[in-house]
């Protein structure tokens, strides 16, 4: 029996000492508290969100050249049976045709917001470990800016036509990562929260170094790599540009004009314009110096995907099979024949079988830094916002004409009235933001009952407003 006793004691000791031996951690996962133990973790969590936004369900395709551009009738591939955008079911909800896209925007968008909220919470509690000068403000400012950027797009997709129906419950606005259900807030409250948050980001990013350069070879090693190529991040001017967009959506033209002007007039610390319009896009498809914010795509897959998706084949979606439609978009009949945004080899590849945009065809650019990018905010939008908001029709004409002349199109006669102004702006959005997604939001903001290529006889809010996912209806707080 004594032997048994010794054995029992021995085994108990084994139990006690094995706790460390049991501590096995999976290699691909890391606990939250371990991640945010040092500065690198904060950088990684922020970088993760940018990479998430580059997924094809979000800005990597559907919210730029994909779904939103299909709805805005940028393409004509009517021989492809699955690409029948002229069918009404693209605009009536619920529809099995659009269900997956519309659900993904919501699910993935809120997932990115959850990541940002958790990052922001950790900056508050553990942010002291961010030691490099200025990083804390940059990371926090970008996180707030990005969150507003995503919220604003969710509001523009799922919210009402603001000018007609501003008090309609739109989307939940969450600032905490927890499991409590958040209510659908009226669009007015959401837009105010977005604007407040953007202002906070603006303050935090006041000292953004705004390092932007497009070296034709090599890399400038003197710049901190975490703060280089700022156009790929939610920088100071991206926040200001977003403010201009948000104020305009809200109908606050004074503030929208103020921010648009601030961006247009922005100067580099060394002097010279911070952003400048481009007049030759042959080797500069996404207009380098106009980029205020662009998402950087995965260099391993992006070029191949673009080559596949934009080739003239029977199964592709993002093409124009009838050249006349291209000419219509670019007003070739009146004044568009020299528009660099359309010309063969510049903005488009045109052949007898059809045409497709070269915006994303980025293998012959003057700087490798420009490759694998999808623009999200560009300078011309600031010109158009200012042109729409200014009370001076003369100035409005000049602003539009500035962009037009840079693109190789004649300047315009001074607008005689607001209708002429808005007509001109509509056409410019259509040409400038071809396959960038912003055109759809332009139509929705102004509640256009029809537009070029629109298959619906009378577009109403119901056609412009995406339905909430079934799961949100079932599990969220929608009343």
């Amino acid at each position: 029996m004594r032997n048994l006793y010794y054995m029992a004691v021995g085994l108990l000791m084994l139990f006690a000492s094995c706790s460390d031996w049991l501590d096995v951690k999976p290699k691909t996962n890391v606990e939250e508290e371990d991640l945010f133990k040092n500065e690198q973790g904060f950088k990684e969590a922020l970088t993760g969100v940018y990479i998430k936004l580059s997924e094809t369900q979000l800005y990597g395709r559907e919210l730029t050249y994909g779904f939103l551009s299909q709805l805005a009738q940028c393409y004509l591939a009517e021989e492809n049976e699955d690409a029948d955008y002229f069918e009404e079911t693209w605009y009536t909800y619920p529809s099995t045709r659009t269900e997956t896209y519309v659900n993904d925007f919501w699910v993935e968008g809120y997932n990115a917001i959850a990541n940002l909220n958790n990052l922001l919470a950790n900056i508050e509690t553990r942010g002291d470990v961010i030691v490099t000068d200025g990083y804390r403000d940059i990371i926090k400012g970008e996180a707030l800016g990005l969150r507003s950027f995503i919220y604003f797009d969710l509001l523009r997709m799922y919210g009402p036509i603001y000018k007609d129906n501003a008090s309609s419950p739109s989307i939940p606005y969450r600032t905490q990562f927890n499991r409590d259900v958040a209510k659908l807030l009226p669009a007015t409250e959401v837009i105010d929260s977005i604007i407040d948050c953007l202002h906070e980001a603006e303050t935090l990013l006041e000292n953004d170094p705004m390092n932007i350069s497009f070296p034709s070879y090599g890399e400038d090693t003197s710049i901190d790599p975490f703060l280089n190529y700022r156009f790929n991040r939610m920088n100071k001017y991206a926040v200001k540009g977003e403010l201009a967009r948000a104020y305009l959506w809200k109908g606050d033209k004074v503030n929208a004009a103020r921010y648009a002007r601030e961006v247009i007039d922005a100067k580099k610390p060394t002097g010279g314009d911070m952003f400048a319009l481009i007049s030759d896009n042959t080797q500069d498809k996404i207009c380098s110096t106009e980029l205020m914010f662009a998402i950087n795509m995965d260099s391993n897959t992006f070029a191949d995907r673009i080559a596949d998706e934009f080739a003239i084949t029977m199964w592709n979606y993002y093409i124009i099979s009838d050249i006349n439609y291209l000419y219509e978009i670019f007003d070739v009949a009146t004044d568009g024949q020299n528009d660099m945004r359309m010309k063969e080899g510049m903005g488009f590849s045109i052949s007898a079988n059809g045409a497709y945009t070269l915006k994303y065809n980025q293998d012959q650019l003057f700087s490798s830094v420009l490759e694998n990018n999808i623009p999200l905010i560009r300078l011309p939008e600031m010109y158009y916002i200012l042109a729409e908001c200014t009370t001076d029709l003369e100035e409005a004409t000049q602003l539009i004409s500035t962009v037009r002349t840079m693109r190789g199109v004649d300047a315009l006669q001074t607008f005689r009235n607001d209708t002429e102004r808005m007509d001109a702006i509509e056409k410019e959005y259509r040409k400038e933001f071809y396959a960038e997604g912003q055109l759809w939001f332009f139509y929705k903001r102004l509640g256009y009952t029809t537009f070029l290529g629109c298959p619906i006889a009378n577009m109403t809010e119901g056609h412009y407003r995406f339905p909430l996912p079934d799961d949100e209806i079932a599990l969220g707080d929608i009343y």
């Binding site: 990479i51 939940p172 969220g476």
Partner: protein, 1007 residues
């Protein structure tokens, strides 16, 4: 006191003829009894478990006794895989089946036989994988213990894939715990000694949390001493396809269906109209020329499969050995598929006095050709019968149809269809090669009387390579122009290393021959390491260059790693009084790396009672009761139900491991929403059993009732997507699984003189799953979900909650349908309020059926006459419902450009006034998907004739002529398997791989 091998037997009970004197033998087998003065003893009776009781007269001199093993009493031991327990003292639910019973029901996979022998052991549906020898079926015991959605589609898991199914029982093979299910499937049935199923809390308490779905303990035959004995086993099987469930359209019908669907309607430009007309005329001409290809038979063949095993055994009483070598060639009915295995095992046992050392080593080498070079079967089921296989030169065509383009290069009619048979002209591989070495070492020692100490060490090392190669000419790459993308190679190498070290002590004590006390203690420590890595490369212009490193471009690196470590101790105390009453108690403490640092230890316990009524004199007086046992167990066991990273908030790098320009680090994202309040789920389980044998073995049976109540069930609790994640692990309530299982055996005819008997066996089971209680959070949300829309009070816009008290998880949800409107051809639904509507709305779904059958089980018949035995077994199932998803996919949601089920032609609505079962034909595949509706809910009643087996055993005493052939015994058997399948549901079975029927012969020769 020795056994037949001359080894001493400790613990034998010795009783004098008048019952007054008793003793037990010591470790060396000796015993002594002091005889009181003046007392005379005529004889002594010696008894021991597993040995025939012997009575010897005593004339006053020392006795030397040899006890013989008793085949009958060997049944009386319960093999738990860890300890051997006396059946009389075992209170748990253990169903033991012998190798012979198994061999009578299956010629190959022994698990098929187990599903027929035990009503609680079920094999999953093989609707998709059919009879593919490389697919790994899903097995479950006594229902699902966790909450979740089990209505999802069947997943096909092939050899070499990672098995992700959560409800598999634990498999134990010759003491090696947790072997893969394929190792059991590949076992040569001739090697099986016995299989024991453990189902209740007692099994959980012994094996810990990994046994929450039950345990299957498989023992192979131990070597027999004697001169060298050679045994040969063979099985020769003919397997042929069973396509009786396929009813596809013929060429003329198919083309007519396409016309009705409007593929050839005049539309678009003049060129378009012309092209559409042309292509229709061309197809029509082919039909009129008599082209009507039966594509289904093209990739299939009748195959001959064979298995051989040679066994050498012998040795002395001290040292016994067994060497087994086996070969299994099992091609599948799709050309180029199959499983080819070779295995060797060496079993050596050494015994000297109180010491026993044994070592069993296995080596398995298995090659599986997983998919056919012809492709999957569904590709052939889709092909239109008006296509020809070969062109006018007799060559296999690459394209069966080419789309027609208009002037600007756009598709105006038809589609491009590759010929899957074209791929057979070029090299392709889908192969898994697995190599496994297992070793089980055991040393046992009895240092003192009644005490046994043992050490077990088992080590398993597996390497498995999976290679999937498609040449550049494969039809998958028809539309790919880039040479670097044509041809692909996916290579994965997976290795595992498991080891398990266990120490066992057992102690038995008998007092006054009435009180038997047995205790067991076991401590074990183990580690499992899995690692896999591989690459995906493309660009193989020359199809002889089938090596992954010859690819022009590496697309992706893949891999995974996982290590788990655990240790635990289990203690068992069991007491039996007078062989009538028994009680036992098991306790276990587990610690595992999977439990997370907050919750390192998990306790389990169970207790049981047993009453051997047949030992009671008042029962014995009845005269017709041979055996009557009442037993019950109760236990509380725990299961984590989640991995630690689900409780903690974790970040993950998997999808964000790339460089983002303007950042100098890689990205990371939240893996999920952590729930620090998560609790373990625990299960209280009751098991009550009754075993009886009556009227001289004429009638016997077994009845078990169980009630498992799982508390704090862990579930993926759905969240509103705006929270950022769609689920969180949470404790959502209590679930019960109540059910019964029975087996009845009736032997109407029994003639000892003729050695003839006939018996019938029926077994069955029913399980009822109920959600007993839901958490407050879930209740609050259900109420929230039922709130009415204030703007629209009559419209119930949200679907009903699915987790409500009283609901079952096997319920089927669908919108009630009134059928197809004869006027419009559209479906008419009922809303939740009972109003008619033509719109399908998720909120109108209500529970409409339950997949759990009222009863399912097996009926079998067994006839023996001398060496002849005949067995017939059939499985039945009735009272459940089934949502016929195959029918939805193959008829209404079918893409009409391809071949479809006959009903899509005959039973669909066409004209106003048609009373049709299916909606109108439309080519709009994406816009009008049929969603869950009661039109596709069907009652499922099924009868499957699984096995007919006829065997004849030649023995020297009946057939002396076999001696002249040098044989000591021989047997020949004939099997017919999966002969007949009758069901109330008409659907295609075997989608990716067809079903088969099998006829085989087995031969067993002992020299």
């Amino acid at each position: 006191m020795v056994d037949e091998q001359g080894d001493p037997i400790p613990g034998v009970s010795v009783v004098s003829n008048d019952q007054s004197l008793k003793a037990v033998t010591r470790a060396d087998g000796t015993f002594s009894i002091t005889l009181p003065e003046g007392k005379s003893v005529k004889s002594f009776t010696f008894s021991f478990i597993g040995m025939a009781t012997k009575t010897v007269t005593w004339d006053g001199k020392p006795l030397s006794i040899t006890l013989a093993e008793d085949a009958q009493t060997m049944d009386e031991v319960v093999v738990t895989g860890i300890f051997e327990r006396k059946k009389e003292g075992f209170t748990g639910s253990a169903n033991r089946m012998t190798g012979d019973e198994i061999r009578k029901l299956s010629s190959g996979n022994i698990l098929n036989a187990i599903t027929m022998l035990d009503p609680g052991f079920r094999m999953g549906d093989n609707m998709l994988s059919g009879s593919n020898p490389s697919s790994v079926p899903d097995f479950t015991m006594r229902g699902q213990s966790s909450m979740g959605d089990y209505s999802t589609d069947e997943t096909v898991i092939m050899r070499g894939d990672i098995d992700t199914r959560p409800n598999q029982p634990l498999f134990v093979l010759d003491g090696i715990i947790d072997v893969g299910v394929t190792k059991i499937m590949d076992l040569d049935p001739a090697q099986i000694e016995s299989v024991t199923l453990l189902k209740d809390a007692a099994a959980m308490a012994i094996y810990g949390s990994q046994a929450s779905n039950g345990v299957v303990v498989v023992e192979t035959k131990a070597p027999e001493a004697g001169r060298l004995r050679v045994t040969y086993n063979g099985n020769y099987k003919v397997e042929y396809p069973d396509l009786t469930d396929y009813h596809l359209l013929n060429a003329a019908e198919k083309l007519e269906l396409e016309r009705r669907a409007g593929y050839y309607d005049e539309s678009g430009t003049i060129v378009n109209v012309e092209n559409r007309y042309d292509i229709y005329r061309r197809k029509l001409l082919e039909v009129e020329r008599g082209v009507d290809t039966y594509w289904l038979s093209q990739p299939l063949e009748t195959v001959f499969a064979h298995r051989h095993g040679i066994n050498l055994e012998g040795g002395t009483n001290e040292l016994r050995y067994k060497i087994y070598a086996g070969l299994n060639q099992a091609p599948g009915i799709m050309k180029g598929t199959g499983v080819y295995g070779k295995s060797v095992s060496i079993d050596i046992r050494y015994r000297y006095k109180g010491l026993l050392i044994s070592n069993i080593a296995y080596v398995d080498y298995t090659t599986s050709d997983r998919t056919s070079p012809y492709g999957t079967f569904d590709q052939y089921a889709k092909l239109n019968p008006y296509y020809r296989i070969r062109d006018e030169h007799g060559q296999i065509q690459q394209y069966l149809e080419k789309a027609v383009y208009d002037d600007s290069g756009f598709n105006s009619a038809g589609m491009t269809v590759g010929n899957p048979m074209y791929n057979t002209l070029y090299n392709s591989i889908d192969r898994n090669v697995a190599f496994e070495v297992r070793d089980a070492f055991r040393a046992e020692y009895s240092p003192m009387e009644n005490l046994r100490l043992a050490m077990d060490l088992t080590v398993t090392k597996t390497t498995s390579d999976t290679d999937i190669f498609k040449s550049a000419n494969h039809t998958d790459f028809i539309e790919v122009t880039d040479l670097e993308e044509r041809g692909s190679y996916q290579w994965t190498n997976a290795t595992t290393l498991d080891w398990d070290l266990a120490f066992t002590a057992s102690y038995n004590k008998v007092w006054q021959n009435r009180h038997v006390l047995a205790t067991y203690f076991r401590y074990d420590i183990k580690e499992t390491k899995d690692h896999s890595a591989g690459a995906y490369a493309t660009g193989f212009p020359n199809d002889n260059m089938d090596e992954v490193f010859l690819g022009a471009k590496v697309q992706e690196n893949v891999g995974d790693e996982n290590t788990t470590r655990s240790f635990g101790g289990v203690a068992t105390l069991s007491y039996t009084y007078d062989q009538k009453y028994a009680a036992d108690i098991n306790g276990r403490l587990d610690a595992s790396s999977e439990f997370g640092s907050e919750n390192r230890y998990a306790p389990f316990w169970s207790a049981g009672l047993r009453w051997n009524l047949d030992k009671e004199s008042w029962i014995q007086r009845l005269g017709f009761v041979d055996e009557l046992v009442l037993r019950g167990t109760y236990g509380v066991t725990g299961e984590q139900g989640f991995t630690p990273y689900q409780a903690l908030q974790m970040y993950n790098y998997t999808n964000t491991m790339r460089i983002y320009q303007s950042s100098d680090v890689v990205g990371t994202l939240l893996y999920g929403m952590g729930n620090p309040e998560l609790k373990w789920q625990t299960t209280d389980s009751w098991n009550i059993g009754l075993d009886f044998t009556l009227f001289n073995n004429r009638l016997s049976g077994r009845f078990e009732y169980y009630n498992k109540l799982t508390k704090n069930t862990v579930l993926d609790y759905s969240l509103a997507p705006s929270i950022g994640f769609s689920t969180i692990k949470d404790n959502v309530g209590n679930i019960s699984n109540k059910g019964y299982e029975f087996t009845l055996r009736y032997m109407p005819y029994y003639n000892v003189a003729q050695q003839m008997n006939l018996s019938f066996v029926v077994n069955g089971s029913h399980n009822k799953n109920t959600i007993e209680k839901i958490s407050n959070a879930l209740r609050a949300r259900n109420e929230e979900q039922m709130k009415e829309d204030p703007d629209n009070p009559n419209k119930l816009s949200r679907p009903l909650p699915r987790y409500e008290e009283g609901y079952s998880q096997s319920m089927i949800w669908a919108v009630r349908s009134l059928g197809i409107d004869p006027i419009t051809g559209r479906e008419v639904f009922l809303t939740r309020d009972g109003e008619r509507t033509s719109e399908w709305n998720a909120a109108d779904q209500v529970p409409v059926g339950d997949t759990e059958p009222d009863l399912q089980g097996t009926m079998s018949l067994n006839f023996n006459w001398k060496g002849l035995s005949v067995n017939v077994a059939a499985q039945y199932k009735f009272g459940g419902q089934y949502y016929n998803k195959t029918l939805v996919d193959k008829v209404e949601n079918a893409d009409l450009r391809y071949n479809v089920d006959h009903r899509a032609y005959t039973d669909r609505w066409q004209n106003v006034g048609d009373l049709a079962v299916f909606k109108a034909v439309t080519q709009d595949v994406n816009g009008s998907q049929t969603k869950a509706s009661t039109r596709f809910l069907m009652d499922q009643n099924e009868l499957v004739l699984n096995t007919i087996n006829i065997q004849y055993r030649f023995e020297q005493r009946y057939t002396p002529w076999i001696k002249r052939l040098g044989l000591s015994s021989a047997s020949v058997g004939l099997y017919m398997e999966d002969l007949f399948h009758w069901s109330t549901i008409r659907q295609e079975r075997g989608i990716e791989y067809p079903m088969s029927r099998q006829i085989s012969m087995s031969l067993n020769l002992t020299f």
